[in-house]
């Protein structure tokens, strides 16, 4: 069985690790001290680039690359730490904030040193009252100990961290939505470009990083790039000539919930398969896996045929899904996929910020269609098409081919694809919320079509056995991609 490798979470359960003294006893702040003593800021940026660290917040964008876009000649620059963890199925940041807030501060310090940043805002979601309290207390201690404030540890660096509470809007987890919200406005995302790295908060260059990403920095600096890149697979992308390395390095805080025996956060090397993770989490609660959501509710669903998909950024992207924030939700054979989709669509209809018309109107529309199907009022029509053939009278003519059409399923796909098209990966909205809506809508419907058809046909929700509810692999649009193809062989 795959073993947990606790790095970020190593000292999480040490009593009082949230206090400065205990954190200090567990190598706390030594990595930051090493950074300022042994390395120039640019060395740190190079190390982060070399480590292949990818942003853990959702998009999986290379952290080092993101840092390289920040213009160094514009002052001031800002760091925004995204602690607005609200993707359904994700809960790893909460534990860091509540139990080990000094680790986050150390990560922020390293990032600030590398980027020459003086001010950091930690945007913490409004519901995390305990997390904010713990982080505020830790920040206060760090000020007292001289790790924050003016002239940090006699290095001449000035670093300030402020926490900023959100107020319950999911969209503020999107980086430009977060920036707008931080500026005291409605959290409606901005058009990109300009990217936040160039014009972010207060129109200054801004690095926006997730809590987990920042918490990786102390370990990259402390243990070195070689140590870090040994964890997790690095693929070779043979589509480029010469092949480019595609790193999925480091550990990931996998959050697993739903129908498993021991839901929780498991820190594991990237690249284990979906079924391995379920085994680590105490096995399935129930008889059979029906479906798995691999990366928070926005990610396209995986069927039981796709459980050998590796849970890393590259593999899941190839499987036409995504690792996202690493929130894995497991569903067993008793679950009805129509019902699950309805739940998720209610979430998105509620959380659409209302800025772009396709999303503002499309999201409730998709929800209403799924609601209709779930209520047993899904629309179905019989259409007759003209067809040339031998008619009953034995002559050539129009035989009138009839076909049963599940009107609502076509409509569902059409509406969703007009918010954001999942096949061409283009969206008609400002931010990626659009694709986060149409991804689940279209993937659930395509991969579990028999269950949707049954609900319409029978006029009520019907939970089919797993084998019948799932479309066979050969009809599954994403099945062929589920395993890393040869050209992506491990380096």
């Amino acid at each position: 069985m795959v073993q947990e490798r606790r790095i970020l979470y190593e000292h999480l359960d040490v009593p009082n690790i949230n206090t400065f003294d205990v954190f200090r006893q567990h190598e706390g702040y030594t990595r930051f001290e090493k950074a300022i003593a042994d390395f120039e800021p640019d060395d740190i940026a190079k190390m982060v680039m070399g480590s292949g660290l990818k942003g853990r917040g959702g998009a999986g964008f290379s952290t080092g690359l993101k840092w390289s876009f920040v213009p160094r000649d514009i002052e001031p620059r800002y760091l925004c730490c995204n602690a607005d963890e609200s993707e359904p199925g994700t809960f790893s940041n909460r534990y860091v904030l509540e139990k080990n807030p000094h680790l986050l501060i150390e990560g922020i310090l390293i990032c600030c040193y590398a980027m020459g940043i003086e001010t950091t805002y930690v945007y913490i979601r409004g519901e995390f009252t305990l997390g904010k309290k713990m982080l505020d207390a830790a920040i206060k201690e760090a000020y007292e100990q001289g790790y924050l404030g003016e002239n940090v540890r006699d290095t001449g660096l000035n670093i300030n961290i402020y926490t900023h509470p959100g107020a319950g809007a999911y969209i503020c987890g999107e980086e430009t939505g977060l920036i707008e919200s931080l500026e005291g406005k409605r959290g409606q995302p901005r058009n990109k470009p300009p990217f936040p790295a160039v014009e972010g908060v207060f129109m200054k260059p801004t690095v926006v990083q997730n809590v987990e990403t920042l918490c990786n920095l102390p370990f990259i600096v402390g243990n070195g790039v070689d140590w870090y890149t040994k964890m997790g697979p690095t693929y070779a992308d043979m589509r480029n000539d010469p092949p480019t390395p595609d790193p999925n390095t480091g550990t990931k805080l996998y959050c697993i919930s739903g129908d498993v025996n021991e839901p929780g956060v498991y820190e594991l090397d990237l690249g284990l398969t979906c079924s391995e993770l379920i085994e680590v989490a105490g096995g399935l609660r129930g008889e059979e896996v029906k479906a798995v959501i691999p990366g928070g509710s926005s990610a396209p669903i995986l069927t039981h045929y796709e459980l050998d998909t590796r849970l890393d950024f590259t593999s899941l992207t190839l499987a036409k899904s995504m690792l996202g924030s690493g929130g894995i939700i497991v569903m067993n054979e008793t679950r009805n996929i129509v019902d699950c989709l309805l739940n998720i669509m209610k979430f998105y209809a509620h959380e659409s910020c209302g800025q772009c018309t396709p999303c503002r109107w499309g999201t409730p529309w998709v929800r209403d269609i799924v609601q209709r199907i779930a209520d047993g009022e899904g629309r179905q029509t019989t259409i007759t098409r003209p067809k040339f053939g031998i008619t009953e009278s034995g002559r050539w003519g129009d035989t009138g081919e009839t076909e049963e059409i599940y009107e609502d399923l076509d409509l569902l796909e059409n509406v969703a694809n007009n918010i954001a098209n999942v096949d061409t990966m283009t969206w008609n909205t400002i931010c990626v919320f659009g694709i986060a809506v149409s991804w689940p809508a279209v993937s659930y419907m395509r991969k579990f079509r028999p269950e949707f058809e049954a609900a319409i046909r029978e006029g009520k929700l019907v939970t089919l056995p797993v084998a019948e509810a799932t479309v066979p692999p050969e009809e599954n649009y994403a099945y062929q991609q589920r395993i890393i193809p040869q050209e992506f062989a491990d380096l």
Binding site: E85, S86, E87, P88, G89, T90, F91, N93, R94, R125, G126, E127, F128, T129, L130, N160, Y162, H164, P165, G166, A167, G168, A169, Y170, S181, L182, E183, G184, K185, R186, G187, F202, C255, I256, S257, G258, D259, P263, G264, V265, I293, S297, G327, I329, M331, R335, C340, N343, I344, F347, H350, E351, C353
Partner: protein, 174 residues
């Protein structure tokens, strides 16, 4: 306060403690407007909900138009524009909680409190007659491993069952 002009009878002001906290807050940002959310949180903690008087006061503090404050207040679900109960019960009903039977907990709460679920436009619908509780559904509270969960004001309660809910409600002082 949609179309009519609201007469503010009793003006709102921060108490001394909150005023001090606000003064500390405002120094954190290069523009005053950025202190909007923390200021509104402070005001809501003092007043219970965001009244027109609060909006006017916050607008003056941050040197903005009242409309701009109203604009923000209406966007975020955590700001209330109506009186809510002493205890605001937020129940998560997103997928991971739904897979762990949050419906049972919700139905139990509804029956126990004798109230419906508040909607964002009608908080009174979910508030008990004695004004002690307001029951509302919220989206994911990021505690899916210990689902189903509820938040009572600032505290999170995990792995709930109807029995645990009963015990919890009894513990809350009047």
């Amino acid at each position: 306060m949609s179309d009519e002009i609201v007469q503010i009878e009793t003006p709102f002001q921060f108490n001394e403690e909150n005023k001090r906290e606000f003064d500390e807050l405002i120094g954190r940002y290069p523009v005053k407007e950025a202190a909007m959310l923390p200021t509104l949180h402070l005001a809501q903690r003092q007043e219970g909900y965001i009244t027109p008087a609060v909006m006017k006061y916050v607008a003056e503090l941050l040197e903005l138009s009242v409309m701009k404050v109203k604009d923000v207040v209406t966007f975020y679900p955590m700001f209330f524009e109506e009186q809510v109960g002493k205890y605001v019960i937020r129940i998560c009903h997103t997928l991971p909680c739904a897979l762990r039977d949050c419906k049972v907990v919700l139905e139990h709460l509804k029956a126990k409190l004798g109230t419906d679920v508040a909607s964002e436009t009608d908080l009174a619908k979910g508030t008990t007659d004695d004004g002690k509780f307001t029951l509302m559904k919220v989206e994911c509270l990021a505690s899916c491993d210990v689902a189903p969960v509820i938040m009572v004001n600032d505290d999170l309660y995990k792995n709930l069952t109807p029995e645990k809910v009963d015990k919890l409600l009894e513990q809350l002082p009047n």
